[in-house]
Symmetry: C2
Subunit: 320 residues, 2 copies
């Protein structure tokens, strides 16, 4: 298998798309093979501009991503897209299967679009996303777009693995605006009111701008609020320009390095948590671990005490 | 502090609402105090019927929860509500602050409504929810409703800490239906098309029913699809009756015990992961851990190898 992984890595570096697809499946599944692949390709990663696109279902994120791809391609850059889906914890199937709209790009070898399923828990999905980005970077994509569906906690966390995060709204997104007022505002580097041909687009844009004025922004960056009609491409050059502006700001302010360092730390925390989780799962069959479980189910032992016992079991004296 | 926690536990058991509010803040914050409180009150937990309510922003979840409270109170049962919000990882503020609609219940001592903020990562929020439910149970609430905003992965996981999960839709929820078709379907025990007075309600209900017929359901339970107008209370007795039916099904089939066992296992996995994460966070200041971080940022060491090194550092020989 190691020999096989060596072949896959070499083929990715040589620009073989099938090898890239294989590698993405491997990192999606996680485990030792994924780690081994990342170990090989890590030196070739970290080179792309990472753009996160998030927002509620129905605001037109996918169409916007399509239009953004077209914009980026006009500039000659190669672009990879990861569409991360919230899915059933039971089936793990991806829901964005029918990206029919994106078919116009499928003949363009400089565009790669991939839907990613989840890995059963939010942290695992974020980990898979980090690694998938590395595969696309090693292949040579200069821009990677990470699209997530929904404004849930884990989806936001995933969108924020990017350098620049775009929050997409549509006219009359009342609930969204309410959310934005009290926190989510700090997550968007760029705000886009899509479906700008619907009534109320400029009102929604004004509401967002007003909220931004009241918000305590975490950096000196003032997030622009743009109106687009992604379906016709209207407003898209402005979105791409804003991404470029934000990139310049990140570099000039030293925030690019700072953010990437914070992301490494977040990834390591998640990896360590994931290892502990896997360690427990692998040990579930042991009879004394089953006994602990039974005690909790029978309400004879509380979960916190049980978890401390498990840490001892799994990690010996080091477990707190 | 331990003496203080003893007072809080005793006052909760004696029915002091202020003590309950304090306790919820403590479990929301997590850490050793939360564990200590859970340890004390765990024997009094596990007694409530747990109902999860989830769905996208705008479908009228909060109004539905209000109407459900009224329905439950008519039967004389005491009800607690936890509204879990997706919020900014930076501020941690709750967004459902203005539950003005719920004010009619605030004078009813047998109703307790609480918005919960997140704990910075999805797993932590789920853990806080488990513990918050225990506090409400120890206080004596016979029904606990767990309301989550959004259909993201972590929100669904939180809604599923309940025995019965209600997925709320509205007429014309096209994107939702698409999601339902390929997975989320298996998450709802009861489907509610709210805002049933809008055009297309029965069409949406039919689409859901059709998808359910095609879906491979995980158990013998056939999820009912109900139409409501939560604002007027229309259809709410049927929702409450369906919850009762599902409860009977869970008990008769032995699934109630099986589900609770699976939840204990999920909680322990998350607790162990959380302990590993906290352990790393507490050690971040150490210079050799800072050195490891710097190596990754400088691309001299990949994150997977670094995490393995960290497991060794944190847990000694036991870390795989």
């Amino acid at each position: 298998m190691e020999a096989n992984l060596e072949t896959i890595s070499n083929e990715i570096l040589a620009g073989n798309r099938r090898a890239l697809a294989r590698a993405l499946t491997i990192v999606e599944d996680g485990g030792p093979e994924a780690s081994s692949l990342v170990r090989r390709l890590f030196p070739y990663s970290g080179r792309a501009q990472l753009i996160g696109v998030t927002g509620s279902p129905g605001v037109g994120k996918s169409t916007l991503v399509d239009a953004l791809i077209a914009e980026i391609r006009r500039g000659g850059l190669k672009v990879g897209v990861l569409a991360v889906d919230p899915t059933s914890p039971f089936t793990g199937g991806a829901i964005l299967g029918d990206r029919i709209r994106m078919q116009e790009h499928t003949l363009d070898r400089n565009v790669f679009i991939r839907s990613m399923a989840n890995r059963g828990h939010a942290g695992g999905t974020a980990l898979a996303t980090y690694d998938a980005v590395r595969m696309l970077e090693a292949f040579g994509y200069e821009v990677v777009i990470i699209e997530t569906v929904g404004v849930g906690q884990s989806e936001l966390a995933i969108a924020q693995t990017a350098d620049t995060t775009i929050l997409v709204l549509m006219p009359g997104s009342g609930d969204e605006i309410q959310a934005i007022k009290s926190g989510i505002m700090e997550i968007g580097d760029i705000f886009v009111v899509n479906k700008g041909d619907l009534p109320g687009a400029s009102k929604t844009a004004s509401e967002v701008m007003h909220s931004l004025e009241l918000a305590k922004l975490p950096t000196a960056w003032k997030p622009p609020v743009l109106i687009t009609v992604a379906e016709t491409g209207e407003g898209m050059p402005e979105v791409w320009a804003a991404i470029g502006e934000h990139r310049k700001f990140l570099e000039a302010s030293g925030l690019l390095v700072e953010r990437r360092k914070a992301k490494v730390q977040a990834e390591l925390e998640e990896l360590v948590a994931d290892m502990a989780r896997s360690n427990l799962k692998a040990s579930l069959a042991h009879s004394h671990i089953q006994d602990l479980l039974a005690l909790v189910v029978g309400r004879e032992l509380d979960p916190h005490s049980a978890a401390e016992g498990l840490m001892q079991e799994l990690f010996g004296n080091g477990g707190r």
